[in-house]
């Protein structure tokens, strides 16, 4: 699959933007703004605001998540921050601290 992969040992401190699917195994601090799916893998750590249509978290996110379609917190995921998305899934086993805004 084409797309952007941030490997486990990679640390990005800054801003990542674009029109491409993103898989994060490493660390991103700052801001993520993409027009396609973002997946934070189990070993991924994101200390950033995430804005994307779909956000799936297996790993750790410290920061707000803005998903225009859906936010998906999988088991084992750890999220500290606010989530705004029309659909929010928080799986059993996920650790979450923050507020959820589904747009009502």
């Amino acid at each position: 699959m084409a797309g952007t992969v941030i490997g486990r040992t990679i640390v990005i401190d800054g801003e990542l933007a674009g029109d491409e699917a993103l898989v994060v195994h490493g660390t991103i601090k700052g801001k993520i703004e993409v027009r396609q799916r973002v997946e934070v893998a189990a070993d991924g750590v994101v200390e950033a605001v995430i804005a994307a249509p779909q956000v799936t978290v297996h790993g750790t996110v410290v920061g707000d998540i803005f998903a225009s379609e859906r936010a998906d917190l999988r088991p084992e995921s750890q999220v500290i921050g606010n989530i705004r998305a029309p659909r929010v899934l928080i799986a059993d086993g996920a650790a979450f601290k923050g507020s959820v805004d589904m747009g009502g």
């Binding site: 990679i10 189990a42 070993d43």
Partner: protein, 265 residues
């Protein structure tokens, strides 16, 4: 079960696929890591890797780069420092200084900047005045035994200009400007220098002339000069003044050269 699979999949991906910044992605900031990084998109900031950096043909890197190896088919604007090798492939465009033990530039690559090869421990001190002497001494001892055989007066004349020239070059001022300045000095010097100038004029279609002037303007205008001034300051504090002084001291050398030409004729 399904969850376990989902969690497993990305892990495989991480081991099988190196890090890729895709063509539609822009990163502004600092990237660090200890794995291979492949850039197809745009990165601005700094990059520091203990493994290889690959800038693919679509990749644009506006950053100072530090990595083991750097393979470039795209664009880098910034300095490149590699502990292994730097390869500019056809189509690569690099504006910046390259420091690495091994550097190769393929046909079809474009580069503007300083290139330093060799062990940093060896080349570093060569920037200084004494280091310059030893490095040239080594060169002369190595390949040019014939120079030694050319009689007693040769060393004196040979050594002085060489030492004076070393700092001026290693001071890393814009090469072209320096070179053209030197060429102009030469033109002012005794007559026999004219023929080469004529040949340059006779061949105006050479792509160098208009484009180079353009490039010259760019060099004058942008941060290159400043960056290299920085280099001077960082490398040797005293070098700036000594190199300027010596550069002027080197001028008397020109008449001597003129005399040679007379002999030559």
């Amino acid at each position: 079960m399904a969850i376990a699979q989902r969690q497993g999949a990305p892990k495989l991906g991480s081991e099988g696929i190196s890090t890729v910044i895709g063509p539609e992605i822009q990163v502004v900031g600092r990237i660090e890591g200890s794995e291979e990084l492949r850039i197809q998109g745009y990165v601005e900031g700094t990059i520091q890797l203990s493994e290889a950096l690959i800038v693919e043909a679509s990749g644009v890197v506006v950053a100072d780069v530090r990595a083991r190896d750097v393979v470039i088919a795209g664009i880098i604007v910034g300095d490149v420092l590699a502990s292994g090798r730097v390869v500019l492939q056809a189509g690569a465009r690099v504006v910046g200084n390259i420091t690495a033990p091994r550097v190769s530039v393929a046909a079809g690559a474009a580069l503007r900047g300083q290139v330093s090869m060799g062990d940093s421990g060896e080349d570093g001190p060569a920037e200084g005045s004494t280091g310059g002497r030893t490095s040239f001494g080594r060169w002369r001892g190595g390949g040019s035994a014939s120079g030694g055989s050319s009689g007693g007066r040769a060393p004196a004349r040979g050594v002085i200009p060489k030492i004076t020239r070393t700092p001026s070059r290693s001071a890393a001022a814009p090469a072209v400007q320096r070179a053209t300045a030197r060429a102009q000095e030469r033109e002012d010097a005794p007559g026999p220098r004219i023929p080469p100038r004529r040949f340059t004029r006779e061949e105006p279609p050479v792509p160098a002339s208009p484009a180079d002037q353009h490039a010259q303007d760019e060099i004058d205008g942008d941060g290159d000069v400043g960056a290299e001034d920085e280099l001077i300051e960082v490398s040797e504090d005293g070098t700036v003044t000594t190199s300027l002084g010596k550069k002027q001291a080197a001028r008397p050398r020109l008449p001597v050269r003129g005399k040679h030409i007379v002999e030559h004729r």
